[in-house]
Amino acid sequence: MDSDTTATKSHPHRRPPDTPFSADSAEHAPALHSTPRLRAGWWRALLAPGFGVLLLVLWDVVAQSGLYADFIVPSPRAVADRWWDLAGDGSLTRHMAVTLREVLVGLLAGVNAAFWSGYLIAKSRLVANILMPYLVALQAVPIVAIAPLLIIWFGPGFTSKVLICALLVFFPMLVNTVLGVRNIPSELRDLMEALESTPLQTFWYLELPASMPIVIGGLKVSATLSVIGAVVAEFVSASEGLGYLINFGRGTFDTPLVIAAVFTLTVVALALYGLASWLERLLLAWQNAGRSVHN
């Protein structure tokens, strides 16, 4: 027993003998995400922001060159000013709140519907046979194309926006849930059966945690799609929201407004993705087990 435990602590055999990074094995950075030359430099952290600044300067040069009219390529300065104005009078917050609300409710509704239908499809061949053709057909229809229809039916308000958002989110989440639940090892199902677990226990102790990695992967895709859904819905018909701002700016040749709204949307989408990634790290911490330990 003792020899076994000591062997596990160091695990010499788990590490591939000839990794390109074996020279500086003192550090244990994940090999896949680092390039050998750039690993140790503190200035590496500045590379990405530096690249951003470079792009900004390029943009400014193009805008100042006079090659394009101001309403086609406004300067970064003009965009920043417009953004500042919007933020100052509170309208940016108001429009952002409208879009965010549509996004969050749509995401939650879509993800929920997708998870439960995906679960049922994975569990029952009958349900799968009945529902799958329609769900695939639904996915084949571009949501943008049915957005006007939904607005005719549900009015131009909040409901139609949420529905469009939820529809867009639905499919990737559904596919991932079906995969996640179907891929649960049959040996673990046997184990639960041998322990006489109830269907509810099997769901809570096995199916939910076992499918979680793939389900969360779906959630991350859905999080970014939900923003697209809300904006598409606002394009079709809206009187407020960031999508409306973009549309309005385009109509009034207020290009700085368009760009300012696009940047704000990007921030919202990134924040949502960040939230999903944080959830992933929180719920799937066990996935990192056994990686750092054996280095």
Binding site: L191, Y205, P209
Partner: protein, 258 residues
């Protein structure tokens, strides 16, 4: 420990036949297997690959319905899996999202054992299996031997009367395998269970069992029932004793007649 209420077999199989239907036709895996296990005995089942050993074990565990024949536990027909029968699979089959502690405690949680009782029994099992220092480790951090030890602990923790083991050490290296065999004997000596273990290894079977059953190649039938009367406690030193070698030779001869 001794002085059983009855000598009636606790687990029995009566004329079990099983046929798998596949795309390339039907395969007869078991053809009339009859056996019985007396209480607190340790029985090993050996035979060539594909003789239906695992199928038989799944039927006895209630995880598979036989095509014909019946399995009984205390003379009651086994129609579905039950907690009185603990199963240890070929792979450790741990839940990767649960720590060693969490994996050990799973059966108690499912049964609904009170929290403090759960903690006490899980702690005791950690000690019995020598996994104390690894209570908080995830399965990915364990060696194969340690993972299998968790699996054994998990199968024992809710105190089933019968333990079915399907080549539990098959995936381990030879050294760890011998060590785990000894450890299983040590645990069995403390928690007298009725054990039926499927194994590929004849020395392992002779070392562990009171009785070794030999199955024929497919379709599987029990062709030899050999009592192992070697004294207990047994250790690995036994491997080189003449009686031991004679027994393994005899078994080997029955598995491969030529």
């Amino acid at each position: 420990m001794s002085g059983n209420p009855s000598n009636a077999p606790i687990l029995a199989a009566h004329h079990i036949c099983h046929t798998y239907s596949g795309p390339s036709g039907d395969v007869v895996a078991l053809d009339g297997v009859t056996l019985d296990l007396s209480r607190e005995s340790f029985v090993c089942l050996v035979g060539p690959s594909g003789c239906g050993k695992s199928t038989l074990l799944r039927i006895l565990a209630g995880l598979l319905k036989p095509s014909r024949g019946q399995a009984t536990l205390d003379s009651h027909l086994i129609t579905r899996a039950q907690r009185r029968i603990g199963v240890i699979f070929q792979k450790a089959n741990l839940m990767p999202w649960r720590t060693v502690y969490g994996n050990l405690a799973l059966p108690l949680q499912l049964i609904g054992v009170p929290a403090n009782e759960q903690a006490r029994r899980t702690q005791a099992m950690l000690e019995l299996t020598g996994l104390n220092r690894f209570a908080g480790a995830y399965p990915a951090e364990l060696s194969g031997g340690m993972a299998q030890r968790v699996a054994i602990g998990r199968a024992l923790i809710h105190d089933p009367e019968v333990l079915l083991l399907d080549e539990p050490f098959g995936a381990l290296d030879a050294l760890t395998r011998e060590q785990m065999g000894e450890e299983l004997l040590r645990i069995w000596a403390r928690h007298r269970k009725t054990v039926l273990m499927v194994t590929h290894s004849i020395p392992e079977a002779v070392l562990l069992a009171d009785r070794v059953l030999v199955m024929s190649p497919r379709p599987g039938q029990v062709v030899l029932d050999l009592p192992i009367l070697l004294p207990r406690p047994r250790t690995l030193d036994l491997l080189h004793q003449p009686e031991f070698v004679a027994l393994t030779e005899r078994l080997r001869h029955h598995i491969r007649p030529n």
